[in-house]
Symmetry: C2
Subunit: 228 residues, 2 copies
DNA sequence: CGATTGCCGACTGTCGACAGCTTGAAACCC
DNA sequence: GGGTTTCAAGCTGTCGACAGTCGGCAATCG
């Protein structure tokens, strides 16, 4: 760190606020999500440490963290490789997402109230606003934030953690197809449908809504992968 | 390593086969599951490194691994602490387990066949045999192995990973209550019921069976925690 | 000309060391 | 005597270094 103090943090805005590990992890995450590192590409600890101006220790720890999040895979004595998702794995991820969100909705619908509805409706507005003009990653984040709110309202920390775990992979999936979201109208409609189902208090309607919602997202991504 | 070469591997049968990280991770896992480290206890990297005769690097990596598995929690600049589960977290874990197993059964029931049935029936026999005489950890492992098979048959790698993730916490839950499984008969009956439901091909029966099965396990553990 | 073996470079796994922070307690003040 | 300040010990975060291993390339052999 003595020679090149955290030059990699995109300028010099925030210097040494948090752990180096977290900073490196953020850097790697961004680099992977934005496809600056190609899927399957080998990452050298040494090279990264040199490029970022830090020692190998924080790089290793950050890489291990990303491995646990499914963004990297490691081979003993060979190092780390950027996760490459095939269509099968992609289906698995969306299937698990469906599993988690169905469960969250089933729990949430029993404790749904006006305040939660307002908050979720506000988040849909944010998504709609972000849909017109903002960057792709921003749209994705706001969309994920909505779903994260739904799961958080289900009031199961462990369930939320499971969602956070696959959310990194979801970002990867979405980034991989390179395209932005579907058209803003359909997104808003789809989320409103989910909200209406919740407001109705009918578990079956909630399930239909989430099945449709995630089905659309999955088909969109799988189709995108097929073309790529 | 120079002073005390891997004395902690319990003898000298297999010397230095795998990474030090994995060996340390196994050691820590065992120590936590067997309650040699008390819940909430602080673990010092330095102390562990000294005790195990290795440097701090592998200890750190192993600890991070266990953290991602939910067996340890870390506080910046303070170190690692053995995860202490309260009744609420415990409920969350079992609720997520229910979520995953329900989903797996719903998928599995559509592709269930005689071969899978035979394999699962064999595993139940192993559980029954282990139930009479073997160590508690053995019983737990065989029980978990059955459920892992069910999920593996559902043919979703990501779902299986999610189960493996919480299985470490399940081991912790079960170890925390200090007692062994419920009586062997009820275990066998409960598993057979699950198998029968699968064989019937009726999704609703599968769901009832798994809800009952996990409900019993959860109540058993929650009650155990309450007493402890 | 293809397969095998030996060598070289590069990199990971592991180690010991140092600086800065955190904590607990002694020393101090009121 | 209670509360505050200062200090020392211990520990984590980070670093640079070394050894063993892996992959690739060239020389060798059939």
């Amino acid at each position: 760190m003595s020679t090149t103090p955290s030059k990699f943090l995109g300028g010099a805005t925030v210097i040494q606020q948090r752990n180096l590990v977290e900073q490196v992890a953020d850097y790697l995450t961004q680099a992977i999500i934005s496809q600056r590192f190609a899927p399957g590409e080998r990452l050298s600890e040494m090279q990264l440490a040199r490029d970022l101006g830090v020692s190998r220790a924080p790089v290793r720890e950050a890489a291990r963290l990303l491995e646990s999040r499914g963004l990297l895979v490691s081979q003993p004595r060979r190092g780390f490789f950027v996760r490459a998702l095939d269509a099968g794995e992609l289906n698995d991820v969306f299937d698990l997402r469906l599993c988690l969100e169905r469960h969250a909705l089933a729990r949430l619908v029993t404790v749904f109230d006006a305040e939660k509805e307002r908050a979720l409706r506000r988040q849909i507005d944010i998504i709609c606003n972000a849909a017109t003009g903002d960057s792709d990653s921003r749209k994705i984040e706001e969309d994920l934030a909505f779903h994260r709110m739904v799961i958080a309202y289900a009031d199961n920390r462990r369930l939320l953690k499971a969602f956070d775990d696959i959310s990194h992979e979801l970002r990867l999936c979405i980034a991989l197809i390179g395209k932005t979201h579907a058209d803003p109208d359909s997104i808003a409609t789809s989320h409103w449908a989910l909200l209406d189902a919740l407001a109705s208090g009918d578990p079956a309607r909630c399930r239909e809504a989430i099945d449709y919602h995630i089905g659309v997202a999955r088909d969109y991504v799988v189709k995108g992968i097929g073309e790529a």
